[in-house]
Symmetry: C2
Subunit: 209 residues, 2 copies
Amino acid sequence: MAPCRLDFWFDFASTYSYPAAMRIGALAAEAGVKVRFRPFLLGPIFKAQGWTTSPFNLYPAKGRHMWRDLERLCADLSLPFRRPDPFPQNSLLAARVALAGLERPPGEARWGEDFCRAVFRAEFGAGARIDDAAVIGDILAGLKVEPRPVLAAAQSDAVKARLRAQTGEAQRLGLFGAPSFVTADGELFWGNDRLEAALRWAKRVANSL
Amino acid sequence: MAPCRLDFWFDFASTYSYPAAMRIGALAAEAGVKVRFRPFLLGPIFKAQGWTTSPFNLYPAKGRHMWRDLERLCADLSLPFRRPDPFPQNSLLAARVALAGLERPPGEARWGEDFCRAVFRAEFGAGARIDDAAVIGDILAGLKVEPRPVLAAAQSDAVKARLRAQTGEAQRLGLFGAPSFVTADGELFWGNDRLEAALRWAKRVANSL
Protein backbone atom coordinates (compact mmCIF):
# COMPACT_ATOMS: atom_id res chain seq x y z
CA MET A 1 0.00 0.00 0.00
CA ALA A 2 1.27 3.47 -0.91
CA PRO A 3 1.79 5.95 1.92
CA CYS A 4 -1.43 7.69 2.88
CA ARG A 5 0.18 11.09 2.78
CA LEU A 6 -0.70 14.67 1.90
CA ASP A 7 1.67 17.61 1.48
CA PHE A 8 0.24 20.86 2.83
CA TRP A 9 1.92 23.78 1.09
CA PHE A 10 1.37 27.21 2.58
CA ASP A 11 2.75 30.71 2.92
CA PHE A 12 2.32 32.45 6.27
CA ALA A 13 1.20 35.58 4.39
CA SER A 14 -1.68 33.69 2.74
CA THR A 15 -5.08 34.42 4.20
CA TYR A 16 -6.85 31.16 3.36
CA SER A 17 -3.86 29.19 4.65
CA TYR A 18 -5.03 30.27 8.12
CA PRO A 19 -8.30 28.25 8.22
CA ALA A 20 -6.57 25.42 6.34
CA ALA A 21 -3.80 25.20 8.96
CA MET A 22 -6.35 25.23 11.78
CA ARG A 23 -8.54 22.56 10.16
CA ILE A 24 -6.07 20.10 8.67
CA GLY A 25 -4.92 18.35 11.85
CA ALA A 26 -8.29 17.02 12.99
CA LEU A 27 -9.56 16.25 9.48
CA ALA A 28 -6.38 14.35 8.52
CA ALA A 29 -6.42 12.36 11.75
CA GLU A 30 -10.04 11.41 11.12
CA ALA A 31 -9.19 10.35 7.55
CA GLY A 32 -6.05 8.46 8.60
CA VAL A 33 -3.85 10.64 6.37
CA LYS A 34 -0.35 11.73 7.37
CA VAL A 35 0.24 15.41 6.62
CA ARG A 36 3.54 17.14 5.92
CA PHE A 37 3.59 20.89 6.63
CA ARG A 38 5.55 22.55 3.84
CA PRO A 39 6.00 26.31 4.23
CA PHE A 40 7.18 28.16 1.12
CA LEU A 41 7.28 31.69 -0.24
CA LEU A 42 4.67 32.82 -2.74
CA GLY A 43 6.55 36.05 -3.50
CA PRO A 44 8.89 34.60 -6.17
CA ILE A 45 5.98 32.73 -7.78
CA PHE A 46 3.80 35.85 -7.89
CA LYS A 47 6.75 37.85 -9.26
CA ALA A 48 7.22 35.31 -12.07
CA GLN A 49 3.66 36.04 -13.25
CA GLY A 50 4.18 39.78 -13.01
CA TRP A 51 2.57 40.49 -9.63
CA THR A 52 4.44 42.69 -7.18
CA THR A 53 1.99 42.20 -4.31
CA SER A 54 -0.96 39.99 -3.38
CA PRO A 55 -3.65 39.64 -6.07
CA PHE A 56 -6.06 40.72 -3.32
CA ASN A 57 -4.32 44.12 -3.35
CA LEU A 58 -3.98 44.24 -7.13
CA TYR A 59 -7.71 43.56 -7.63
CA PRO A 60 -9.58 45.55 -4.95
CA ALA A 61 -13.04 44.04 -5.59
CA LYS A 62 -11.55 40.56 -5.18
CA GLY A 63 -9.74 41.73 -2.05
CA ARG A 64 -12.90 43.18 -0.49
CA HIS A 65 -14.72 39.90 -1.01
CA MET A 66 -11.80 37.87 0.37
CA TRP A 67 -11.66 39.80 3.66
CA ARG A 68 -15.40 39.54 4.17
CA ASP A 69 -15.38 35.87 3.17
CA LEU A 70 -12.52 35.10 5.55
CA GLU A 71 -14.37 36.86 8.36
CA ARG A 72 -17.50 34.78 7.68
CA LEU A 73 -15.43 31.61 7.43
CA CYS A 74 -13.67 32.26 10.75
CA ALA A 75 -17.02 32.96 12.42
CA ASP A 76 -18.35 29.62 11.15
CA LEU A 77 -15.22 27.85 12.45
CA SER A 78 -15.15 29.77 15.75
CA LEU A 79 -11.69 31.10 14.88
CA PRO A 80 -10.62 34.58 15.98
CA PHE A 81 -10.22 37.04 13.10
CA ARG A 82 -8.38 40.33 12.83
CA ARG A 83 -7.11 41.79 9.61
CA PRO A 84 -3.31 42.30 9.79
CA ASP A 85 -1.77 45.61 8.74
CA PRO A 86 0.14 45.77 6.49
CA PHE A 87 -1.12 43.04 4.19
CA PRO A 88 0.53 40.93 3.02
CA GLN A 89 2.89 40.43 5.93
CA ASN A 90 6.52 39.58 5.22
CA SER A 91 6.56 35.87 5.97
CA LEU A 92 10.29 35.16 5.51
CA LEU A 93 11.29 34.97 9.18
CA ALA A 94 8.27 32.89 10.17
CA ALA A 95 8.88 30.47 7.29
CA ARG A 96 12.53 29.99 8.27
CA VAL A 97 11.68 29.40 11.93
CA ALA A 98 8.93 26.98 10.91
CA LEU A 99 11.38 24.99 8.78
CA ALA A 100 13.83 24.85 11.67
CA GLY A 101 11.05 23.48 13.85
CA LEU A 102 9.55 21.08 11.33
CA GLU A 103 12.89 19.47 10.45
CA ARG A 104 14.26 18.73 13.92
CA PRO A 105 16.57 15.71 14.25
CA PRO A 106 14.91 12.49 15.42
CA GLY A 107 14.67 12.35 19.17
CA GLU A 108 14.39 16.12 19.66
CA ALA A 109 11.13 17.84 20.54
CA ARG A 110 9.03 18.63 17.44
CA TRP A 111 7.23 21.93 17.73
CA GLY A 112 7.01 22.90 14.08
CA GLU A 113 3.29 22.33 13.46
CA ASP A 114 2.27 23.99 16.73
CA PHE A 115 4.44 26.93 15.76
CA CYS A 116 2.73 27.22 12.36
CA ARG A 117 -0.72 27.28 13.91
CA ALA A 118 0.40 29.82 16.52
CA VAL A 119 1.82 32.11 13.82
CA PHE A 120 -1.42 32.01 11.81
CA ARG A 121 -3.47 32.68 14.93
CA ALA A 122 -1.25 35.64 15.94
CA GLU A 123 -1.34 37.09 12.43
CA PHE A 124 -4.97 36.63 11.36
CA GLY A 125 -6.57 36.12 14.78
CA ALA A 126 -4.83 38.96 16.66
CA GLY A 127 -3.44 41.12 13.84
CA ALA A 128 0.19 40.73 15.00
CA ARG A 129 3.19 41.49 12.77
CA ILE A 130 4.93 38.23 11.99
CA ASP A 131 8.03 39.94 10.54
CA ASP A 132 8.87 41.10 14.08
CA ALA A 133 11.45 38.85 15.79
CA ALA A 134 9.95 39.79 19.17
CA VAL A 135 6.52 38.47 18.09
CA ILE A 136 8.07 35.24 16.78
CA GLY A 137 10.11 34.97 19.99
CA ASP A 138 6.96 35.32 22.10
CA ILE A 139 5.25 32.61 20.03
CA LEU A 140 8.21 30.26 20.60
CA ALA A 141 8.29 31.04 24.33
CA GLY A 142 4.56 30.26 24.48
CA LEU A 143 5.42 26.81 23.10
CA LYS A 144 8.15 26.37 25.78
CA VAL A 145 10.85 26.70 23.13
CA GLU A 146 13.90 28.85 23.94
CA PRO A 147 13.67 31.65 21.32
CA ARG A 148 17.30 32.76 21.05
CA PRO A 149 18.96 29.65 19.58
CA VAL A 150 15.99 29.04 17.27
CA LEU A 151 16.04 32.58 15.90
CA ALA A 152 19.79 32.21 15.34
CA ALA A 153 19.35 28.85 13.59
CA ALA A 154 16.61 30.33 11.41
CA GLN A 155 19.16 32.80 10.02
CA SER A 156 21.73 30.09 9.27
CA ASP A 157 22.79 29.44 5.71
CA ALA A 158 21.46 25.88 5.99
CA VAL A 159 17.91 26.97 6.83
CA LYS A 160 17.97 29.78 4.27
CA ALA A 161 19.02 27.27 1.60
CA ARG A 162 16.30 24.84 2.71
CA LEU A 163 13.60 27.48 2.30
CA ARG A 164 14.92 28.44 -1.13
CA ALA A 165 14.91 24.75 -2.13
CA GLN A 166 11.38 24.27 -0.80
CA THR A 167 10.15 27.31 -2.75
CA GLY A 168 11.89 25.98 -5.85
CA GLU A 169 10.12 22.65 -5.40
CA ALA A 170 6.79 24.47 -5.12
CA GLN A 171 7.50 26.20 -8.43
CA ARG A 172 8.42 22.91 -10.11
CA LEU A 173 5.17 21.37 -8.83
CA GLY A 174 3.28 24.16 -10.57
CA LEU A 175 1.94 25.73 -7.39
CA PHE A 176 0.49 29.16 -8.06
CA GLY A 177 -1.22 29.96 -4.77
CA ALA A 178 -1.72 28.84 -1.19
CA PRO A 179 -2.84 26.78 0.50
CA SER A 180 -2.17 23.93 -1.90
CA PHE A 181 -2.35 20.21 -1.27
CA VAL A 182 -0.40 17.58 -3.20
CA THR A 183 -1.03 13.84 -2.92
CA ALA A 184 1.55 11.03 -3.25
CA ASP A 185 0.60 10.58 -6.94
CA GLY A 186 1.11 14.29 -7.68
CA GLU A 187 -2.51 15.43 -7.76
CA LEU A 188 -2.77 19.15 -6.97
CA PHE A 189 -5.62 20.75 -5.03
CA TRP A 190 -5.66 24.50 -4.51
CA GLY A 191 -7.48 26.34 -1.75
CA ASN A 192 -8.83 25.80 1.73
CA ASP A 193 -12.09 24.68 0.08
CA ARG A 194 -10.32 21.72 -1.46
CA LEU A 195 -8.87 20.28 1.77
CA GLU A 196 -11.58 17.64 2.15
CA ALA A 197 -11.32 16.55 -1.50
CA ALA A 198 -7.51 16.33 -1.20
CA LEU A 199 -7.79 14.09 1.86
CA ARG A 200 -10.27 11.83 0.05
CA TRP A 201 -7.87 11.61 -2.90
CA ALA A 202 -4.93 10.81 -0.62
CA LYS A 203 -6.88 7.91 0.86
CA ARG A 204 -7.94 6.64 -2.56
CA VAL A 205 -4.32 6.68 -3.79
CA ALA A 206 -3.14 4.75 -0.76
CA ASN A 207 -5.84 2.10 -1.22
CA SER A 208 -5.36 1.68 -4.97
CA LEU A 209 -1.58 1.26 -5.16
CA MET B 1 -40.29 38.49 7.20
CA ALA B 2 -37.93 39.54 4.42
CA PRO B 3 -38.02 37.58 1.16
CA CYS B 4 -35.97 34.41 1.33
CA ARG B 5 -34.22 35.15 -1.93
CA LEU B 6 -30.85 34.64 -3.57
CA ASP B 7 -29.60 36.19 -6.79
CA PHE B 8 -27.47 33.80 -8.84
CA TRP B 9 -25.18 35.78 -11.13
CA PHE B 10 -23.38 33.88 -13.85
CA ASP B 11 -21.74 34.13 -17.25
CA PHE B 12 -22.23 31.25 -19.66
CA ALA B 13 -18.49 31.34 -20.41
CA SER B 14 -17.63 30.76 -16.75
CA THR B 15 -16.46 27.25 -15.95
CA TYR B 16 -17.49 27.05 -12.29
CA SER B 17 -20.91 28.50 -13.16
CA TYR B 18 -21.63 25.10 -14.73
CA PRO B 19 -21.68 23.03 -11.51
CA ALA B 20 -23.32 25.95 -9.68
CA ALA B 21 -26.17 26.08 -12.21
CA MET B 22 -26.66 22.34 -12.01
CA ARG B 23 -26.64 22.28 -8.19
CA ILE B 24 -28.58 25.40 -7.23
CA GLY B 25 -32.10 24.20 -8.00
CA ALA B 26 -32.23 21.23 -5.64
CA LEU B 27 -30.21 22.92 -2.88
CA ALA B 28 -32.38 26.07 -2.94
CA ALA B 29 -35.59 24.04 -2.89
CA GLU B 30 -34.31 22.09 0.12
CA ALA B 31 -33.38 25.35 1.88
CA GLY B 32 -36.67 27.05 0.97
CA VAL B 33 -34.86 29.87 -0.84
CA LYS B 34 -36.17 31.46 -4.03
CA VAL B 35 -33.43 31.89 -6.63
CA ARG B 36 -33.27 34.46 -9.44
CA PHE B 37 -31.08 33.48 -12.39
CA ARG B 38 -29.17 36.57 -13.49
CA PRO B 39 -26.95 36.10 -16.55
CA PHE B 40 -24.41 38.85 -17.19
CA LEU B 41 -21.21 39.39 -19.14
CA LEU B 42 -17.87 39.16 -17.37
CA GLY B 43 -15.99 40.57 -20.37
CA PRO B 44 -16.50 44.28 -19.57
CA ILE B 45 -15.63 43.63 -15.90
CA PHE B 46 -12.45 41.75 -16.80
CA LYS B 47 -11.55 44.48 -19.28
CA ALA B 48 -11.92 47.14 -16.58
CA GLN B 49 -9.21 45.38 -14.56
CA GLY B 50 -6.94 45.07 -17.56
CA TRP B 51 -7.70 41.48 -18.63
CA THR B 52 -8.35 40.76 -22.29
CA THR B 53 -9.27 37.10 -21.77
CA SER B 54 -10.06 34.69 -18.96
CA PRO B 55 -7.59 34.74 -16.04
CA PHE B 56 -7.37 30.97 -16.60
CA ASN B 57 -5.74 31.73 -19.95
CA LEU B 58 -3.64 34.61 -18.61
CA TYR B 59 -2.21 32.46 -15.80
CA PRO B 60 -1.53 29.00 -17.28
CA ALA B 61 -0.72 27.25 -13.97
CA LYS B 62 -4.03 28.46 -12.57
CA GLY B 63 -5.77 27.37 -15.75
CA ARG B 64 -4.27 23.86 -15.65
CA HIS B 65 -5.48 23.42 -12.08
CA MET B 66 -8.96 24.77 -12.91
CA TRP B 67 -9.55 22.28 -15.75
CA ARG B 68 -8.39 19.36 -13.66
CA ASP B 69 -10.38 20.59 -10.67
CA LEU B 70 -13.53 21.01 -12.77
CA GLU B 71 -13.09 17.51 -14.15
CA ARG B 72 -12.80 16.06 -10.61
CA LEU B 73 -15.77 18.13 -9.47
CA CYS B 74 -17.97 16.94 -12.35
CA ALA B 75 -16.99 13.34 -11.64
CA ASP B 76 -18.02 13.77 -7.99
CA LEU B 77 -21.35 15.28 -9.10
CA SER B 78 -21.92 12.74 -11.91
CA LEU B 79 -22.01 15.59 -14.44
CA PRO B 80 -20.65 15.09 -17.95
CA PHE B 81 -17.48 17.04 -18.66
CA ARG B 82 -15.83 18.06 -21.91
CA ARG B 83 -13.52 21.02 -22.28
CA PRO B 84 -14.91 23.49 -24.87
CA ASP B 85 -12.68 24.82 -27.62
CA PRO B 86 -12.09 27.73 -27.85
CA PHE B 87 -12.16 28.83 -24.25
CA PRO B 88 -13.68 31.10 -23.20
CA GLN B 89 -16.71 30.78 -25.44
CA ASN B 90 -18.46 33.94 -26.59
CA SER B 91 -21.51 33.97 -24.33
CA LEU B 92 -23.35 36.99 -25.75
CA LEU B 93 -26.02 35.14 -27.75
CA ALA B 94 -26.74 32.61 -25.00
CA ALA B 95 -27.05 35.39 -22.42
CA ARG B 96 -29.53 37.33 -24.58
CA VAL B 97 -31.65 34.25 -25.24
CA ALA B 98 -31.56 33.39 -21.54
CA LEU B 99 -32.79 36.87 -20.63
CA ALA B 100 -35.59 36.57 -23.16
CA GLY B 101 -36.61 33.29 -21.55
CA LEU B 102 -36.19 34.35 -17.93
CA GLU B 103 -38.24 37.52 -18.32
CA ARG B 104 -41.32 36.17 -20.07
CA PRO B 105 -44.61 37.96 -19.41
CA PRO B 106 -46.80 36.42 -16.70
CA GLY B 107 -48.94 33.64 -18.07
CA GLU B 108 -46.47 32.57 -20.78
CA ALA B 109 -44.36 29.44 -20.50
CA ARG B 110 -41.16 30.04 -18.54
CA TRP B 111 -38.25 28.11 -19.96
CA GLY B 112 -35.39 30.39 -18.95
CA GLU B 113 -33.83 28.28 -16.18
CA ASP B 114 -34.09 25.05 -18.15
CA PHE B 115 -32.43 26.84 -21.05
CA CYS B 116 -29.56 27.99 -18.82
CA ARG B 117 -28.89 24.47 -17.57
CA ALA B 118 -29.08 23.07 -21.09
CA VAL B 119 -26.56 25.64 -22.36
CA PHE B 120 -24.09 24.81 -19.60
CA ARG B 121 -24.51 21.09 -20.24
CA ALA B 122 -23.98 21.53 -24.00
CA GLU B 123 -20.91 23.72 -23.47
CA PHE B 124 -19.06 22.00 -20.62
CA GLY B 125 -20.64 18.56 -20.82
CA ALA B 126 -20.49 18.07 -24.61
CA GLY B 127 -17.98 20.72 -25.72
CA ALA B 128 -20.50 22.50 -28.00
CA ARG B 129 -20.01 26.04 -29.30
CA ILE B 130 -22.58 28.28 -27.66
CA ASP B 131 -21.90 31.21 -29.99
CA ASP B 132 -23.49 29.17 -32.79
CA ALA B 133 -27.14 30.09 -33.41
CA ALA B 134 -27.78 26.53 -34.66
CA VAL B 135 -26.59 25.08 -31.33
CA ILE B 136 -28.77 27.53 -29.39
CA GLY B 137 -31.67 26.75 -31.71
CA ASP B 138 -31.26 23.01 -31.06
CA ILE B 139 -31.26 23.64 -27.33
CA LEU B 140 -34.49 25.64 -27.61
CA ALA B 141 -36.10 22.98 -29.78
CA GLY B 142 -35.10 20.37 -27.17
CA LEU B 143 -37.11 22.40 -24.65
CA LYS B 144 -40.11 22.52 -27.03
CA VAL B 145 -39.56 26.21 -27.68
CA GLU B 146 -39.84 27.50 -31.25
CA PRO B 147 -36.29 28.76 -31.99
CA ARG B 148 -36.94 31.34 -34.71
CA PRO B 149 -39.00 33.96 -32.82
CA VAL B 150 -36.83 33.57 -29.73
CA LEU B 151 -33.58 34.07 -31.65
CA ALA B 152 -35.15 37.15 -33.26
CA ALA B 153 -36.31 38.52 -29.91
CA ALA B 154 -32.85 37.93 -28.46
CA GLN B 155 -31.42 40.35 -31.04
CA SER B 156 -34.00 43.04 -30.29
CA ASP B 157 -32.89 46.38 -28.90
CA ALA B 158 -34.96 45.74 -25.78
CA VAL B 159 -33.14 42.51 -24.88
CA LYS B 160 -29.75 43.97 -25.79
CA ALA B 161 -30.43 46.91 -23.48
CA ARG B 162 -31.58 44.56 -20.70
CA LEU B 163 -28.33 42.61 -20.85
CA ARG B 164 -26.29 45.81 -20.80
CA ALA B 165 -28.28 47.00 -17.78
CA GLN B 166 -27.85 43.67 -16.02
CA THR B 167 -24.08 43.76 -16.62
CA GLY B 168 -24.01 47.34 -15.33
CA GLU B 169 -25.81 46.24 -12.18
CA ALA B 170 -23.26 43.45 -11.70
CA GLN B 171 -20.49 46.04 -11.90
CA ARG B 172 -22.22 48.32 -9.39
CA LEU B 173 -22.62 45.36 -7.01
CA GLY B 174 -18.84 44.89 -7.14
CA LEU B 175 -18.99 41.50 -8.87
CA PHE B 176 -15.58 40.48 -10.16
CA GLY B 177 -16.16 36.86 -11.16
CA ALA B 178 -18.76 34.16 -11.62
CA PRO B 179 -20.68 32.47 -10.27
CA SER B 180 -21.59 35.02 -7.62
CA PHE B 181 -24.47 34.96 -5.18
CA VAL B 182 -26.05 38.04 -3.60
CA THR B 183 -28.54 37.91 -0.73
CA ALA B 184 -31.43 40.33 -0.10
CA ASP B 185 -29.24 42.32 2.35
CA GLY B 186 -26.44 42.70 -0.23
CA GLU B 187 -24.03 40.05 1.05
CA LEU B 188 -21.78 38.81 -1.77
CA PHE B 189 -20.53 35.24 -2.09
CA TRP B 190 -18.20 34.33 -4.95
CA GLY B 191 -17.69 30.86 -6.35
CA ASN B 192 -19.46 27.55 -6.71
CA ASP B 193 -17.88 26.58 -3.36
CA ARG B 194 -19.86 29.31 -1.62
CA LEU B 195 -23.31 28.26 -2.80
CA GLU B 196 -24.20 26.45 0.42
CA ALA B 197 -23.00 29.36 2.60
CA ALA B 198 -24.97 31.83 0.47
CA LEU B 199 -28.15 29.79 0.89
CA ARG B 200 -27.61 29.64 4.67
CA TRP B 201 -27.13 33.42 4.70
CA ALA B 202 -30.27 33.99 2.63
CA LYS B 203 -32.29 31.97 5.16
CA ARG B 204 -30.76 33.82 8.11
CA VAL B 205 -31.62 37.20 6.54
CA ALA B 206 -35.20 36.16 5.94
CA ASN B 207 -35.58 34.96 9.51
CA SER B 208 -33.99 37.99 11.15
CA LEU B 209 -35.77 40.82 9.35
